[in-house]
Structure formats: structure tokens, C-alpha cells
Amino acid sequence: MRRLWRSVLFLGRDSRLRAWLKPWTDSLNTFSKGHQSLSVVLGMAVVTTVLPFIILFPPFAGFATQGDWVQGFASAGIFVLLALGLNVVVGLAGLLDLGYAAFFAIGAYSYAYGASPFAGTHFPFWPLLLVGAMVAALFGILLGAPTLRLRGDYLAIVTLGFGEIVPVVFRNADTYTNGTNGISGMYRPALPVTGTFLGLNPVPYYITVAVLVALAMVFLYRIQDSRLGRAWMAVREDELAAASMGINTVTTKLLAFAIGASTAGLAGVFYASKVTIISPDSFGFTVSFTILAMVVLGGMGNVWGVAAGAFVVYEIQSELLKQMNGFVEHLNLPPINLGVTTIDLAKVDFLQYQFLLYGLALVGMMLLRPEGLFPNRRRRAELHDVDDAEAANQELVEA
């Protein structure tokens, strides 16, 4: 059964497809090993170019038009950024953060203060990206400094608390945040060539977010292979031994927090500039959870995996489940006769079952593939026992 699912997900090591692709993947691997940043940029470029065309074909074309898809991809990019940032905290440093949306909110409000009629300011978008990231990082440090000494689960609840506090503050500090109304009419980004971005044309946003994601990925890959990245891994593996090897665990974790938060800040700024309205209700617990689910489903610790996980979950949530009704009607399936009752799928309102399907997807995914869709090799080794670990080792040697 397990084997079957692995093949279905066509990512298992035993699939024939994989064997067939091996020569190509091998040479790709060698290339990416030597030119990591370049290969990330190239990879993102390929993905960014190909995505808008893939969706011209069925079954994707059945859901929505190309414009809608690209619009959705631009929003999905926000979540990819968020997942990449959370991956640093959860996947690399092994800290459970349940209030990650707070930093997203902080980034978004930073943009609102920098470029909205409410604040009466209009700074350009690009430097504000940096400002938002820095403000979020600062709050990450402020939260982390006193709390990172706590044991894992206590840290989780502290972050959860922080995630609840931030929207409450934004909601109630009316004078500064316009309260529940939120801040609207944010100015859109502008570039010398294209002029101000338009709400109707998702392409500039899409490209911008792709560039941001590519940058974030390059940076994260580089950090992962540095002193700090190794320290994160060591702290995750064995905090005590890590400390005994000279790693200041608190500073190391704090940096994970700060870098994770700054990525969320970046995403927040972009989000605010795209949606042009932010309100405290957009940054609740559900958002934190969704991002966490994206990271875990994608495969903690693996940059590409997490990005893919975020993308897939976002598309399921906001495209597939939403368009399910129309899609099933299109299929023209005959009613299913169960004897006692007949189920006509075309008449079922799938919107009603959205949560149920999402929940089942989460549970099923975890039961069948707890290491995520695209697991980090090390992480998979932790999960499966010796034989798999040896295989993983083998892969490492080959790579």
C-alpha cells in the first residue's frame, strides 16, 4: 500500500519514472551542487516562465483562465515566501513557531505606514521592502530575546500568544492603526519602465514575487551552507552537544527567528502593496497554521520542497476547492447509484465540504508521507530506520 502511494506521488525512490530520469537528474544534481545560486535562479526562471503556460492545458484550463491563474500565482508567491521564512525557524533550527502570521502583519503594517493615504506618506515600494523586513526582524528579536531560553513547546505557546496579541493590538489601537477598519488605499509599487503596477495586471506582481522568492531561496541556500546554517542544524539535532561545541544556542536561535521574521516582513510588504487593504483580521491564527501546514507538507528543511508545498497548498485552498463545483459539473459524471440513495456529484455543493476536504488532505498526507512531499534527505533519515538511512547516505555520497 505504502509503495503504491509512493509511486502515485511519483517521488518515491522505487518508481520507474525516477529511474528513467536518473541520468538527467544526476547531471542536474552535479550542476546544482557546483553552481547553487545560479541553479536556483535558473530554476525559478524556468518555473516562472513555464507556469503561466502549463495552466493553458487541461485539467488546469478547466478551472480558470490564464489571467486568474497568474493572479493566483502572485498571491501564492506571498505564501511561498512565508513558508520559506518559517522553514528557517521550524525546519532548520527546529523551533516550533505558531504565531508566525504576526510578523507577516508587522511587515504589512510597515508598508501601510510608509505608503498609504492613512499615514499621509508615499515612500517608494522597493526601499520599504527592506524596511518591512527589518522592522519584522526587530520584533522577532524582541520576542525571541527573552523567550528563546524556553523549552520547545513553551516556545510554541509563547509564539502562539504573540500571534494572538499582535492582531489585538492592531485592532484596538485605533488612533495608530485605524482599528478594525484596517488601512486601505495603499499605493501600488512602481518601476521606471512599467510605471505603477495595476490591480488588473497580475504579471508585474507575479514577476516581482518570483524575483523575491528566488532571492530568498538563494540567500537561504547560502546561509544553510555557512557557519550559521550548520549551527542551526546542530542545535536542532542536539542542543546540548551544540552548546558544548561552542555554539551560543540563544544567539543562533535568535538569528533563526530574526531571519524568519524578516522574510515574513518582506512578504507582508508585498501583500499590502498587492491587496492595498490590510486589516487585523487578515493575520489570525489560521494564517499561521496554514503556513505551518505548508512547511510540513512540503518537507521541512528542504528549500525547494517547502516552496512547492506552499504553492500546492495555496492552490488547493484558493483555486481547486473553490472551483470544485464548476469542475465537477464539467466532468458530466453520471449519478452514482448507492441503492438506498443516489449521489449526483454535479449537484453536490463542494464549497460546503471545503474544510472537510482540506482536513482530510492534511491528515492523509501526514499518514502516508509524514516527512512531507519533498523531504530533506537528512530529515527522511531521521524518520525511517537504518536501511533508509543507509540509502540516504548513499544518495549523499552519489550527489
Binding site: V90, L96, P146, T147, R149, L150, R151, D153, Y154, A156, I157, V158, L160, G161, F162, E164, I165, V168, V169, R171, N172, L240, F285, F289, L292, A293, V296, L297, M300, Q352, Y353, Q354, F355, L356, Y358, G359, L360, A361, L362, V363, M365, M366, L367, P370, E371, R379, E382, L383
Partner: protein
Amino acid sequence: MDVGTLTQQLVNALTLGAIYALIALGYTMVYGIIELINFAHGDVFMVGSFVSLWLLADFFGLRGPINNPAELVGVLVVAFVFSMVVMGLVGVVIERFAYRPLRNAPRLAPLITAIGVSFILQNIIQIWRGPAQLNSPQLINVQAGFRVGSAEVHWISVFVIAIAVGLIIGLHLFISRTRMGRAMRSTALDREAAQLMGVDINTTIAVTFFIGSALAGAAGVVQGLYYGYTFFTIGFQGGLKAFTAAVLGGIGNTTGAALGGFTIGFIEVFASQAGYANWSEAIVFSILILVLVFRPTGLLGQPTAERG
């Protein structure tokens, strides 16, 4: 604030705290034994309130207070037993299918299934009873009570506090006095060692889930009796607060969970009294963060010795 209002608020705080404590116990028990933050627990409480709603309103056809004491006691006993057993079984089923297969997976995997289960439970209830608040029969007349000075204490409050305290004491006795309780404690301390000593781990964990979920079921009945309504989203916020209570008290510690529940009840009530109801979550969580920063194991938690 006059003495009457103060007394009244104390009673309110105790009542609210009692409900939080009941839910918090389930969190803390499950965490104590398998170190899983069972995010679906809040929704078990929510489903419990719907199960008791079904029993009382649809099955018994009750609408309002019952005035005959004997009948009232009879119905209440049936309601509590039914809801607790049903929810206990639901808890066991959830454990069996969503958590047990992942017992050796990384810690985050069962957390995600917990979130998934939470979504599933909410959606099932939403499909079953619709996405709106529903009236729940208040069997005990909520206006009946007695006066303490200038304060009005309602019998329902006394009842809720008594139920919670009774169940907490019962649970405490169960854990400290019975064989199963000992098995639970030893499993919590060291699962492998317990297994070697002949403890059946699967049964022990299942029993833990049964008891924790049954307590949430009891809290669900209380929700209906005390507030007179239920809603498919109450599990989420109630669960969050209860979880906070469990951590505040020292997670894994049942007495601590009760203490944490009452503490949060007090904080919320007095935040409301002071006119900061809209800030109450921020206040609760700020206090939580401060407590954890200065006393990292919670109020009653034992510091865990690190093994070098």
C-alpha cells in the same frame, strides 16, 4: 467597584475558570503522555456540546428548565454520561487513526494531523447542524439563585463549579490510586521503560484519550447548560484559551491545568470588569509570556533535569 460587584465577578471568574479547567485537563493529559499538542481537543469539546444538544433537544425534546428535581438530576446524569462516553470514544477513534500511526514520526507530523482533524470535526458539525449558532436547552433555571450580601449567585454557577471540581478530584484520584493511573504516569515518564515493565502502551494511551475527551464532552454539556447556545467555532477559541491554561499551570500537570484554567478565568473576568474586554486576549497572552519568561516550567511544572 462595590463589594457586591466584586463578589459577583469572583463567582463569574470561578465559573468561567471551571470550564477552561475541564478542557485544559484533556490537553495536559495528552501532552503529558505523548507530548502532542492536540489541537483537535477544542473541537472535541465543541462536538461534545452538539452531542448533548442533540440528546437534550432532539432526542428528549427538551426546550427549557426542568423544575422537578428528580427528573432534572436524572436527565443531567444521562446527558453527562452520554456525552462523556460518546466523546471519549470519538477521542479514542481520533487517536487510533490520526495519531497512533504517527507515534514515531517527527513531532510536527501529528500536530498537522491534529489541525486536519480539527478542520474535519468543524466541517462535519457544520454540515450536520448548519453554520450558525444554535439554541441549547438550559435545564437548570439560569435566573434562580441565592444572595450573598448584595451579590446574586446562580445555582447554575454553583453546579458548573461543582461538576468541574468533582471531575478534577475524580481524575486526580484515578491517576494516583488506580493501576491504570499508575500505568499512565509511568508511560508519561518513560514510554520504553513502562513497556518493559509490562504496561500496555496502546491501551494506556487510548485510555488517556478517552478520559481527556470525556472531560471535554462534559465541558460541552456545561457549555449548553450555562451559555444556552453552541456554535461550530467555539472549540477553536475555547481550545486555545484552555491550552494556554494548561501551559500556564505547567503542562503535563493535571492540578496545574486546573489552576491555570481558574487563573485565566480570573484574568478575563477582571479585564472585562476594568473595561478592557477587547484587550483580554492580549492581556491573557502577555501574562502567559511573562510567567513563562520568569518561570519557564509554568506555575506548577517540575523542571526537567537535563541529562548530560
